[in-house]
């Protein structure tokens, strides 16, 4: 049996490879939305922030928790919304338009 740390390391390394494969296929045109979108995904630390804010037993923990939730939420909500705002601007040449 392998311990939880080693499982984590396995998962981390394999996820890096998956990330590498998937992201090298993103065309340069979409690199800015890729950054803002992946940025929103890195806001996944909201999961940890929620636990701190939801189980805090003293003032310090409450402050840390609320700050962490607020920061992570900005990251998540802002990141996904701005990515959507950008992606809806991308469109092809209208068919029947000037082709060459």
């Amino acid at each position: 049996m392998i311990g939880p740390l080693l499982v984590g390391v396995y998962v981390f390394v394999l996820a890096m490879f998956v990330g590498w494969q998937v992201i090298t296929k993103v065309p340069p045109t979409l690199h800015t939305p890729l950054m803002s979108g992946s940025n929103a995904i890195s806001g996944i630390s909201i999961v940890g922030a929620l636990v701190i804010a939801g189980t805090a037993s003293d003032t310090l923990m409450t402050v840390l928790g609320v700050a962490a939730v607020a920061l992570a939420t900005v990251n998540v909500v802002g990141g996904f919304v701005v990515t959507d705002r950008m992606l809806k601007m991308f469109h092809r040449r209208p068919s029947g338009g000037s082709e060459d």
Partner: protein, 467 residues
């Protein structure tokens, strides 16, 4: 059993992130992909709220309301030109959140007078260090892009040495804290936090404004690694996976940006490029004063463009500064209706973050299938009648290709000098961002159309309409 169910929910969210990123491989599926990733995030959040024995929702709601409000406002208000700054801010906040998660975890150990496992300790210290560096580093990058921190590299004697000593001290503190029972070690822990925050500032201030795209991509990667570290702290696979995906993404973009400038990452981080008055290239034939650049008026330029078969437009950040994207698209459309093939050539470092120029043109309704990458457009240059350079400079500088002594030697360029005619729209003959002289301006097949990009484009549109 319930625990397993929630773990599976985290797995689903991680899979949705991967599927979402996969859909970014084409502009047609990208928007749906973003939504899929957002659903993945929602699943992870709901699983946490239901599965993690949350005692009180009050403070969660407070934090979430503040964060959602601020995030929504920023995302809706930000102009596309300011996207790099905003991504920097979001990066920083993500890093800070990860650092706070690690900090809170350590303080719980202190309070509970518990021991610390080495692996757990290392995860906490990594989370604090990477998260804090990401936070302050991103804030400085934001300041540099926004203009309230100097764009010039800030350097002082023994800079690298002192940063290195600080890093060693931090690693020593982190090692100590990972091996020692936490109770009573708060002082050292607070030192580690403070030193990490300071280090984030110190590593970004010596980097010039022109190199911020690389820095932002790298900090993007760090924000992912910080989330992964927080995942190791909490033994939460969803965080580990998501963080690794973002870490990989940021690294890839960092590599692309470095190749776009033909610089190594080390050179970007420690080279203090573009400082002071800037190095003057010896390239071409002596200083600019000896040579003459031919000037062209909008009327003749419009004539050249309208009777061309193919026009390649090379937009640079100057275009965005002048808010002239819409005028450029209008000109492109007019020429298209006259039977001219119009292509837009986008250099990887044309904007101020990876893919920035593409977003700016998309905002101006330029169809993405008219945008071409360097390697696709350069072979067509000889068959191009007119290359129109708008607000770009270094990315079309032939010295990068021809003059091995140029500071930008080896940087891939869009070879507008190989087009039959080239028109450069620019305010003056001043050197660009990197402070490098551009021999293109003095070539016989090049003409300069001086003036503000928006005004000049408006004049061109007027003239083309009258033809």
């Amino acid at each position: 059993m319930g625990g397993t169910l929630f773990q599976l929910a985290y797995l689903v969210s991680a899979v949705l992130f991967i599927v979402g990123l996969q859909r970014l491989s084409s502009p047609e599926t990208a928007r749906g992909g973003n939504t899929i990733a957002a659903v993945g995030m929602l699943i992870a959040i709901v699983a946490t709220l239901l599965g993690e024995h949350i005692l009180s929702f009050t403070w969660i709601v407070v934090g979430a309301v503040i964060g959602s409000g601020a995030g929504l406002l920023m995302a809706q208000m930000v102009p596309m030109t300011a996207m790099p700054q905003m991504v920097a801010v979001f990066n920083g906040f993500g890093g800070a959140a990860s650092a706070l998660v690690a900090i809170a975890d350590y303080l719980e150990l202190v309070k509970g007078h518990e021991g610390i496992e080495v692996a757990h300790g290392v995860s906490i210290m990594a989370g604090v260090l990477i998260g804090s560096v990401t936070f302050t580093g991103s804030m400085i990058a934001y300041g540099k892009l926004q203009g309230f921190v100097t764009e010039k590299p800030v350097t002082y004697p023994l800079q690298k040495t002192s940063n290195f000593i600080l890093l060693i001290a931090m690693l020593a503190a982190g090692t100590w804290l990972s091996l020692t029972p936490p109770a009573g070690q708060e002082g050292i822990f607070y030192f580690l936090i403070a030193a990490s925050l300071v280090l984030g500032v110190l590593v970004v201030i010596p980097i010039g404004g022109a190199d911020m795209p690389v820095v932002i991509a790298l900090l993007n990667s760090y924000s992912g690694l910080a989330a992964s570290a927080a995942g190791f702290v909490l033994e939460n696979m969803s965080l580990i996976i998501s963080g690794a995906l973002v870490g990989a993404s940021g690294l890839i973009l960092t590599g692309i940006m470095c190749r776009g400038m033909n610089r190594s990452l080390g050179n970007v981080l420690f080279g203090a490029f573009g400082g002071g008055g800037g190095p003057q290239a010896a390239g071409g034939g002596g200083p600019g004063g000896d040579r003459t650049a031919r000037e062209i008026n909008p009327e003749s330029a419009a004539m050249m463009l309208a009777y061309a078969r193919q026009v390649v437009v090379v937009p640079g950040y100057g275009l965005a500064v002048a808010q002239a994207q819409h005028k450029l698209r209008e000109l492109g459309d007019l020429l298209g209706r006259k039977g001219v093939t119009v292509k837009y050539a986008i250099h990887p470092v044309a904007g101020r973050m990876p893919g920035h120029m593409n977003v700016l043109l998309a905002e101006a309704n330029v169809p993405y299938d008219q945008l071409y990458e360097i390697e696709d457009v350069n072979p067509e240059m000889a068959d191009t009648d007119v290359a129109l350079v708008v607000g770009a400079n270094d990315v079309v500088n032939p010295a990068a290709r021809d003059d091995p002594t140029s500071p930008i030697a080896g940087m891939p360029i869009i070879e507008v000098d190989r087009a039959k005619q080239c028109i450069v729209m620019k305010r003056s003959l001043n050197p660009g961002f990197a402070g490098v002289d551009n021999p293109l301006f003095y070539l016989p097949n090049n003409s300069m159309l001086f003036g503000d990009a928006a005004d000049s484009l408006a004049a061109l549109v007027r003239e083309v309409k009258e033809l």
